[in-house]
Subunit: 296 residues, 4 copies
């Protein structure tokens, strides 16, 4: 098990009309991710709406802010009991056996035009044996092909653009990997967290986008950007792509400051709490446990 | 109330590998749409999986077909008790009051890149009074701007393309209207049915794509293509856009024939069953009834 | 006649491999644009290649720079004897009467996908009487529709993007206007100069992109961005779009600084040299003189 | 030398407004391509405008057709004296040594967005030794990656689309190869002719699009579609991409029939006239002769 102390502060200047915000910065609560302490502070005395989406588990905070400054700060201590599995024992799930609620992650979405990549995906990956290793090959292909470069892409950039231009940031890597998986009929979704373990050269701690792929046993974590230690990721939310899981969706005239984020991993070996570390096993924070896998 | 007898036949030739199908041709069951008789026949003796999505009510039929012919035929008698409302009494719902499960219909999707149309939408419609009439103005703008032309678009065509090239079929009209609504923070979704009332010049009866927009009281029906009598639409499914609600999603090597569709409206005035007809009132088949509206 | 004193300085840092440059910052020499004094300085003692394209009159400076600093400075005094014409007397030229060398400006190019805008252009402008006023209407439509906003577009942005997103800088306005003209079979080309008369709020003096349209009598100047005084534009070069007329095309690893530009208009009324000023007449710096127009 | 007898018939139905046509179906006259007999017939007694572009040598026929049928038929006997060269002796030409008139073929164009492919091109081909073999590697990469499939693309399809979707016809192969060459600063242009040697399975004889690349000694022929015998290609025209070299550009309301084309190669060994045949040497029909190459 790993334990992360998370602290986020978001600052906005709201114009004279006021503005609606939907925040998605609460750590998700799942059977494998436990939020032991949690504290939310909003600088304005406005009504707060909390909502948890029943299918994704995403937790939303909704508020209508008055003109002026708005600060939202959130702290949490989160324990993640990863499911570890042996990569070579994880099969893909044939379409006819996919749970119905997973089907939607086969379809193309705003930033993941999987329908256009079918021929390419089959040519590159169609001959490989099915299973976790094939998905890992997709991840590696994206990691090798795309160069992490700040300020090269914008909110309009999609998987097709990234395939052509071969530069991007974490969300672009994620979109391309997702599109390629879906093109092969492998369900894949977009996940958000914080960039635990990212090197300082990439900038201050930030939100992070990564990928979850549905294989035998549930959803597995992949980081195609290669910038973080996957075991240190805690999940805020999942969705089809970045359109679904912005950490802040804003309706109105608002000036935003860069978010301030801090994550710290705690160690308590006597209680089985380890620091996140690189690991050759497959990682899941969702879904049923494989018979041969051990919870650690 | 209107009553439609619906008959669909779908024919496929499946190659030697077999193929997975997900059909979405069952009439949805909602409080306002009642399926009184229903008959499904599948020509192959394969297991049939039925699934109803809890949030959308979409009904899916899933099967894995063997090589050879596959025929799926479906007949149903469907009663629709529309909610009628006075257009000038239907307000838009402010973002802070939208039900959480409706929020997703504000976000851009594969074929509805609302994020790129915000400036255009505000310029064209931002000064209008909010309400049903504004949405009707969006519908009229799309209807007037785009020309219905068969074989001008393909499965890759999106709202942005339709805005530029100004030609398309029903799904293209729907995508553009949806994108414009979302760009104004008005929830909109893609709906499928059959093209009741379409003139023969457009070809034999076919599946139809139209739009539902969330306003005060629930989801309202709009047909931006202007080719059908909206009152005669029965709903198969709703989704973010065409990526979600294909009448058949196929995984494998399959030759498809054009679908055969027949719809007939029944009249039984003594029981309040009328023929679908053009109507100046707002129509809904979903959501709560407005106080001032009458069920008919 | 107007007289501009122009001064440009370009600074680069060339990496260890050296780099090839093609500059296009010399004022064009045409029968209507006279370069009376001209001075070019290049900080490195490398061979300079000068080339004037026979069809466009564009003047290119080519050099291979060594590693280290490279400064190119250019000063010129340029006289422009505009052809003035009455807008309501300038007809469009029917396709069958276009000079062959003008035809290429009817075709779509990298940033001006006129082939996709034919329907839209005909709908918006097809019913107007042909002539200068129709082109002016296209210019006004673009000016009104697009908002000048720095840093919203990049070198990949094309007319189609600008039509959708409705923001951009001078080159984006120019591309959209050109695409619309070509969609109506009106030859249009991209021209570059400096932004004489631009308000300081847009930043320091800079290169400018504008449009020339072929009508009866020759090529006429239009500034769809509305940011400059057209009479103060001197022409560096013309081409199909921005792909042809970069002020510097660089092959190699180079760090560029922002260009330093200064333009000053001289006045000498006794010799007929006036300051550039807004003007309701049509302006041309190219092509034959209309019978009813006077050179001033 | 090879000798081709060419026969083309084009049929149109012009609507009541009449229409302007620009045809580009005359075999180009170059020092290496001789048109010994030529016959043009136009079914309407309208004035014919002939124009040869001085830089490309493209020959245009321009006419304004009256309402009704229009038939244009053209026959020619064309001799091509190819320049043959040894691939391993053909170098690329450094940018600083490119003739000025060739520079334009380095820039992106409507269908060849080379500016977006620089990173990909450098990754795939940047480490290879420069020269003919590298261009051949680009050709092979495109040939292997894209599948020739009729009716998968349209007049809007560009190199970027073909890279993503990996299907297309001859023009799509050509656009992608051109874009990749330009991304590496290798001049490349689009050429049109007829599809000599294409297998019947692709359909009746048709116009063909191929590529010319500028290397040491001049422009060399490449057929990325792999569907023809390159030695049997005669050149109609060259341009930046398909936007420049349509065999018929039409302004007005016109119904077109499929073109009828026939090509026959003649053999007269005693006079050195051979049948076109596959050949491992580099082929050029343009530019200076390499010292070590023999004319045959």
């Amino acid at each position: 098990m790993i334990r992360i102390e998370l602290s986020i502060e978001l600052n906005y200047q709201v114009d004279a009309m006021g503005a609606d915000f939907i925040f998605n910065v609460h750590a998700a609560r799942t059977p494998w991710q436990t939020v032991s302490h949690e504290n939310l502070q909003v600088s304005q005395p406005v009504p707060l709406g909390h909502y948890t989406d029943p299918s994704s588990g995403n937790r939303y905070l909704r508020l209508r802010a008055d003109p002026g400054n708005l600060t939202v700060s959130y702290q949490a201590t989160v324990d993640v009991a990863h499911v570890f599995a042996e990569p070579d024992q994880i099969a893909e799930v044939p379409v006819q056996h996919l749970p119905p609620e997973v089907m939607v992650y086969l379809y193309p979405s705003r930033y993941c035009q999987s329908d256009r990549l079918i021929k390419l995906a089959i040519k590159e990956f169609g001959q490989m044996p099915q299973g976790y290793a094939r998905v890992q090959a997709i991840r590696d292909w994206v990691s090798n092909r795309v160069t992490f470069t700040s300020n090269t892409t914008n909110s309009n950039t999609s998987a097709v653009d990234t395939l052509i231009e071969e530069v991007g940031v974490c969300r672009d890597f994620a979109h391309l990997m997702i599109a390629l998986c879906r093109a092969l009929s492998i369900p894949a979704r977009f996940a958000t967290g914080t960039d635990y373990g990212a090197p300082a050269v990439l900038g201050p701690p930030d939100f992070h986008a990564y990928v979850e792929v549905y294989l035998q046993g549930g959803w597995y974590i992949f980081d195609p950007s290669g910038t973080v230690v996957p075991m240190g990721l805690i999940r805020f939310s999942t969705g089809r792509d970045a359109a679904d899981v912005a950490f802040a969706t804003i309706f109105g005239g608002v000036m935003s400051q860069a978010p301030w984020i801090q994550t710290m991993a705690l160690e308590d070996a006597s209680n089985g709490i380890l620091l996140p570390h690189p690991c050759s096993q497959a990682l899941s924070t969702d879904g049923a446990v494989l018979p041969h896998a051990a919870n650690r």
